[in-house]
């Protein structure tokens, strides 16, 4: 399964957010690693539910900072957050039907989203913060 690889250039410059990024990535990795081919549906659903909650919590913190800093692209950034939260719930629903569930695909999906989000929206926020300071 593809895990999310943390890289230092994902750092955006907000201490709380950066700290939680790392925590979040390691927690998601741990949860994904725990999902093997033999994992029961309830465990998968619980793990995804937890990932959903933790990601939502992290996004809330990041959105608070963007709002407080009057970040111009905050709405666009938030939309990307909301897209992922929508996706995770849709994934949870597919797990309710075990035949449709593909752990590899889930790992890839999360990894792609995070990597893409770090490289685009978070990188843009980082550049904005650097320019601002």
């Amino acid at each position: 399964m593809t895990l999310i690889a943390w890289r230092e250039d994902f750092t955006i410059g907000l201490p709380d957010v950066d700290y939680e990024h790392r925590e979040l990535v390691s927690m998601i990795n741990a949860l994904l690693e725990s999902l093997g081919p033999d994992t029961g549906v309830p465990q998968i659903v619980a793990a995804l539910g937890e990932i959903h909650a933790r990601i939502a919590l992290h996004f809330a913190l990041e959105e608070r900072d963007m709002h407080q800093l009057h970040y111009a692209a905050a709405a666009e950034h938030k939309d990307d957050h909301e897209r992922l939260l929508d996706d995770i719930l849709d994934i949870i629903d597919t797990v309710e039907s075990p035949l449709d569930y593909d752990p590899e695909a889930l790992g890839d999906r999360l990894s792609r989203w995070f990597t893409g989000h770090f490289r685009t929206h978070d990188a843009r926020l980082h550049r904005w913060l650097v320019g601002r300071s």
Partner: protein
């Protein structure tokens, strides 16, 4: 003690709010934004007051003339501004009283919510002080009545060295300085009122101080219409030598004034004191057991601040982190301000029922209703439901009894406030196929017991406030009890397409469709009728019914005396030996004890004793003047008057006697005074 009137009041307000919701729409319902309308009236009064003050002369001789010139000589604007000033003031007191009644009816002042209630009392008092001093300034017969009665009322209190009523015995006695003082109070009191209004809402997050724009326009239009149709005008010019038999009274501000005449000032103060005491105790009567306050779970809190932003009572704050986690802040609950409404729980990003039971705890929870318990109860009560119209009702504790339509084939989950419901619970219901529809049942439209629960819920569903109800959740399967035809919703559930989440193509959530509304022409007629009625009542009660303070054939007799009597003991020189016995700083050649004789008075009319009394000299050492002020309403016409005074140490008899026959005209103010050296005089 207070349950029955409260129940009755609640039912009355409920019925009125239902009508207003239909007529005005939920957003414009004036009954649920009384405080905001009060603020609006305040600003109208303030702005119009500034305008009036520019043209107003505070002198006693010019006040009436300048108000008359303002009203009649200025083309339109002066009269309109004066009328707006008057009617917005009346509106302010009216909405403040209805607001107080409504808060009482819905028990929104119990326990920890005492702050808004208690700080509202000085607001109410200052509204009255501001209004009453304003009436004084016009200096017409109503102002004269207000001044004389207020003085009578204040003289009961041990505030002044001598009765201030003596300032109003005749035109000569009244000074412009006193009038200037009234002007100052009339400006200072509203400023103080503004301060208390701010304190009043100080603990309310997102306090509403502006009515909905449309409603504001309607209220302003009504005020303007009233100002043009029934302009506020002065009554006859004040004349302290005469008492107007009947005056047009503003019953919004002066309902207790007739009681001063009927019962006396002391009784009215007792009544006022009793009312204030009862109102002051209401938040603690009866004393209930407060629910446990919200509790922060630091393992699920990163200090995002959503709970802080959503708390309606400012009970949450972000403080420096106290645990091992490297976040900067954490949410902290102020137990004194937390009303256990749970709105914070509904706002928490981790409050999602998709988590596993073993770790399911939101960053902030109500100990009496953890979300994991709510989810268990929900799943359990949904299990027996069957058919295509299964319903989950998320209901607020203040939503009242649910109708039969909502209880059939339904699982009901109760919570302290509907704002406690995390939107993901609605998603969860459909995701797990627990039901076919969800009803969110709260208080009446825009009248949330915990202030913001309904507003936040609507905004979360519409994607205007975090956390959003996800766009994938079919809005047609959700109904708000305060804005939907629940019967039609229930019937329609079974005929909806098969429930399917996801793949909707919309990333932004949509608000729920608006509930049924009356057709626009009907609403327009309803609004016109309701606002017209309110404006009509305001215009009517601002001057009528007239108050008859004096019978047609009556006159007023006033006894107004200020007299420094002789000292009880005459001065006598001290001998050198007596002086030597005194302390050096107390030595004096003459000893003059300062205590004076009291004044004993009798007043007879046509041989009948009208008054008899002894009045001690003022001052700590009884060395000041004795003052007497009494008012009598007597029949007009010819009559003999005898007034006698004893102001020496004699045991019987009188030192001063004055008698004569007078012929009083109806409404005449006849004053008996005493001047040292001249004796009694009357005019």
């Amino acid at each position: 003690m207070t349950a029955n009137p409260r129940r009755w009041l609640r039912a009355t307000f409920g019925a009125l709010e239902a009508v207003c919701t239909r007529v005005f729409s939920p957003a414009w319902n004036p009954l649920v934004q009384l405080g905001a309308i009060g603020w609006f009236f305040y600003w109208v009064v303030a702005v119009s007051g500034v305008y009036l003050y520019v043209f107003f002369d505070t002198g006693i001789t010019r006040a009436y003339d300048t108000v008359e010139a303002l009203t009649h000589a200025q083309p339109w604007i002066g009269g309109v501004m004066r009328s707006l000033h008057r009617y917005a003031s009346d509106g302010l007191v009216a909405v403040a009283l209805v607001h107080l009644l409504r808060e009482f009816a819905f028990a929104r002042m119990k326990g920890k919510r005492w702050f808004g209630w208690i700080t509202g009392l000085p607001v109410l008092m200052l509204i009255y002080v501001s209004g009453i001093t304003g009436y004084w300034l016009v200096w017409d017969v109503l102002a004269q009545y207000v001044a004389v009665t207020t003085a009578e009322l204040l003289d009961v209190l041990p505030l002044f060295g001598e009765p201030i009523s003596r300032n109003f015995v005749n035109q000569v006695a009244l000074s412009s300085r006193f009038f200037t003082l009234m002007s100052f109070i009339h400006i200072a009191a509203p400023l103080l009122l503004l301060l208390f209004m701010w304190i009043h809402i100080h603990r309310h997050a997102a306090a509403r101080i502006q009515p909905a724009r449309g409603l504001g326009v309607l209220v302003a239009g009504s005020l303007l219409g009233l100002a043009i149709v029934v302009p506020a005008v002065s009554q006859a010019r004040a004349n302290l030598d005469q008492v107007q038999a009947t005056i047009g009274l503003d019953w919004f501000y002066l309902p207790l004034y007739p009681l001063v005449q009927q019962w006396g000032g002391a009784t009215v103060w007792q009544l006022l004191g009793g009312m204030l005491l009862v109102l002051g105790l209401v938040p603690w009567l009866p004393r209930g057991t407060p629910a446990p306050v919200a509790k922060v779970n630091l393992l699920n809190c990163n200090g995002c601040g959503r709970c802080v932003a959503d708390c309606p009572f400012g009970a949450l704050s972000l403080e420096p982190r106290s645990d091992w986690q490297k976040y900067q802040a954490e949410a902290v609950v102020n137990a004194d301000r937390c009303f256990s409404c749970g709105l914070c729980v509904g706002s928490c990003p981790t409050a999602t029922p998709f988590r596993s039971a073993s770790v399911f705890a939101a960053g902030i929870e109500l100990p009496q209703l953890p979300l994991v318990t709510l989810r268990e109860q929900l799943e359990k009560s949904c299990a027996p439901l069957a058919g295509g119209d299964r319903l989950v009702v998320f209901a607020c504790e203040h939503a009242g009894t649910l109708g039969a339509d909502l209880r059939r084939n339904a699982a009901v989950a109760r919570m302290p406030c509907i704002g406690m419901l995390p939107p993901s619970f609605i998603d969860f219901v459909f995701s797990r196929r627990l039901a076919d529809g969800v009803v969110i049942a709260g208080c009446g439209a825009n009248s949330c017991y915990h202030r913001l629960g309904q507003r936040w819920t609507e905004q979360r569903i519409a994607g205007q406030r975090d956390p959003w109800l996800r766009a994938r959740v079919p809005r047609e399967r959700i109904a708000l009890s305060w804005d939907a035809d629940l019967g039609a919703f229930r019937k329609g559930l079974a005929s909806l397409p098969v429930l399917r989440l996801g793949g909707r193509g919309a990333s932004k959530p949509l608000p729920l469709p608006a509930g049924p509304r009356w057709p626009v022409p009907m609403r327009a007629i309803g609004i016109a009728l309701l606002l017209g009625a309110m404006a009509g009542i305001t215009g009517l009660l601002a001057t009528s019914p007239g108050w008859r303070q004096l019978g047609q054939d009556e006159a007023v007799l006033q006894l107004s005396i200020r007299h420094a009597t002789a000292t009880k003991v005459e001065c006598k020189p001290l001998t050198p030996q007596q002086m030597a016995e005194l302390k050096p700083n107390m030595r004096r050649p003459v000893d003059c004890p300062r205590e004076r004789w009291p004044v004993y008075l009798e007043l007879e009319r046509d041989g009948q004793l009208l008054y008899r009394g002894t009045h001690e000299p003022s001052g700590l050492w009884n060395d000041g003047a004795a003052t007497v002020f009494r008012t009598f309403r007597i029949p007009a016409g010819p009559q003999s008057i005898v007034v006698r005074m004893r102001d020496s140490g004699r045991a019987s008899g009188f030192d001063h006697v004055h008698s004569g026959t007078i012929d009083l005209e109806p409404g005449q103010n006849f004053v008996i005074e005493f001047r040292s050296g001249e004796g009694f005089t009357w005019h």
